[in-house]
Symmetry: C2
Subunit: 67 residues, 2 copies
């Protein structure tokens, strides 16, 4: 069990948006994430950083207004 959790950076603070992320796919401005339970999330964002040791994926919203 070494899945990372995904956070989105909005107005300088990080908000957790998905736990136990298994897959992340980037297609232009869209990010598609799938967790270990097969749940999906799509959002307009880009990857900012990934840390294996911190189990953390940080995304940055392209449109800050999106939820």
């Amino acid at each position: 069990m070494c899945e990372a959790h995904a956070f989105i950076l909005r107005d300088g603070s990080e908000e957790k948006i998905m736990e136990n992320v298994d897959q992340v796919e980037v297609e232009n401005d869209e990010i598609r994430m799938i967790n270990i339970f097969g749940e999906q999330k799509m959002l307009r964002a880009k990857i900012r950083s990934y840390s294996n040791s911190e189990r953390k994926i940080v995304l940055e919203a392209i449109d800050p207004a999106i939820k």
Copy 2:
């Protein structure tokens, strides 16, 4: 030990560029990767996908000519 390996997509095929990646940071068109031994690599690329279960990070070169 569940670090992923990084591959770069070039001309349709994947080439391994770093094993046991711990950190990935994206800054504009630059990607900085650090492995568990503290070795660093910087390259002009973007993240294409990440898979925890496959232990794989796939990057796409921005300038196909770079090595």
